[in-house]
């Protein structure tokens, strides 16, 4: 499943602001787009669209989303950007539980490096 990486470059702080303004609705859209980018970077479907959508409204699914993003998605992004591989899974799960928008900011920041 080799496909071009979709364009999804945002200011991380914008993710926070839009998430707050729309009371979490923007995060559902963000989850879908981030999943598409991570899947394209990994060249396989690691986060399915249903998981991305339900992560926006169901806490256990949200934690699973960040588990997959940290464990399988972001390492592939780091591979492509030439960064030293680091495991952010635990941090993302904790932030995904307490402040999903902040976890989204971290993932967005890493995704942005793909377009530099």
């Amino acid at each position: 499943m080799s496909q071009p990486i979709p364009q999804f470059k945002n200011e991380p702080v914008l993710v926070l602001i839009l998430g707050l303004i729309t009371c979490g609705l923007y995060l559902i859209y963000w989850n879908i787009k981030a999943a598409q980018v991570l899947n394209a970077a990994a060249e396989k479907e690691i986060i399915s669209q249903p998981i991305a959508i339900f992560a926006g409204c169901c806490l256990p699914v949200n934690l699973y989303f960040y588990y997959l993003a940290g464990k399988e998605g972001l390492p592939k992004v780091y591979e492509k950007t030439g960064e030293v591989g680091k495991d952010q899974t635990t941090l993302l799960i904790i932030l995904g539980f307490l402040f999903p928008m902040v976890a989204a900011m971290i993932v967005q920041g890493d995704i942005n490096k793909l377009y530099n």
Binding site: C23, C57, P60
Partner: protein
């Protein structure tokens, strides 16, 4: 020797995580219901971090209360707190049963539904419309003081 096959096999591990998540989703409201047997759950402070921070509901707000009323057999109140509450119960129960069968038989029965984009987008759109409607209703029926009272700031 204990088998660690579930760790080395990512697909199997994901199924175990799915069962654990579904169990957690169903067990937590049940625990809250038992803990609050003698007091009204309706006036209890929401545990949602977003609601605590802003006073506004997130798309998943109310599912716990919805499940509690569903357990009590009050479907009307369950739907009032969240339209997706009873659906969550059915989905989680189905997921636990089918994923357990899949683990035992080592076959896939649930993947088509779980990975169906059509179902996911349809439910996503319904959820977005529902949340938007709920937000409009919430803002029109609560003043600033009520909203602040539902947050951790007052």
């Amino acid at each position: 020797m204990i088998s660690t096959n579930y760790i080395t096999n990512p697909k199997r591990f994901r199924k175990i995580l799915g069962i654990a998540g579904a169990l957690l989703t169903l067990a937590f409201p049940f625990y809250v219901m038992l803990q609050s047997a003698n007091r009204s759950i309706e006036t209890e402070q929401s545990l949602c971090p977003f609601k605590l921070l802003t006073g506004f509901p997130c798309p998943g707000c109310g599912i716990t209360k919805s499940l509690i009323f569903f357990y009590k057999g009050d479907v009307e109140k369950s739907l009032y707190y969240h339209l997706f509450g009873p659906l969550t119960f059915v989905f989680c129960l189905t997921a636990i049963i089918i994923l357990s069968i899949e683990l035992v038989t080592e076959k896939d029965y649930f993947q088509k539904v779980l990975y169906s984009k059509k179902i996911a987008y349809s439910l996503g759109i319904i959820l977005a419309i529902y949340h938007l409607t709920r937000l409009i209703y919430f803002v029109s029926s609560n003043n600033m003081d009520d909203i602040l009272r539902q947050s951790m700031w007052k």
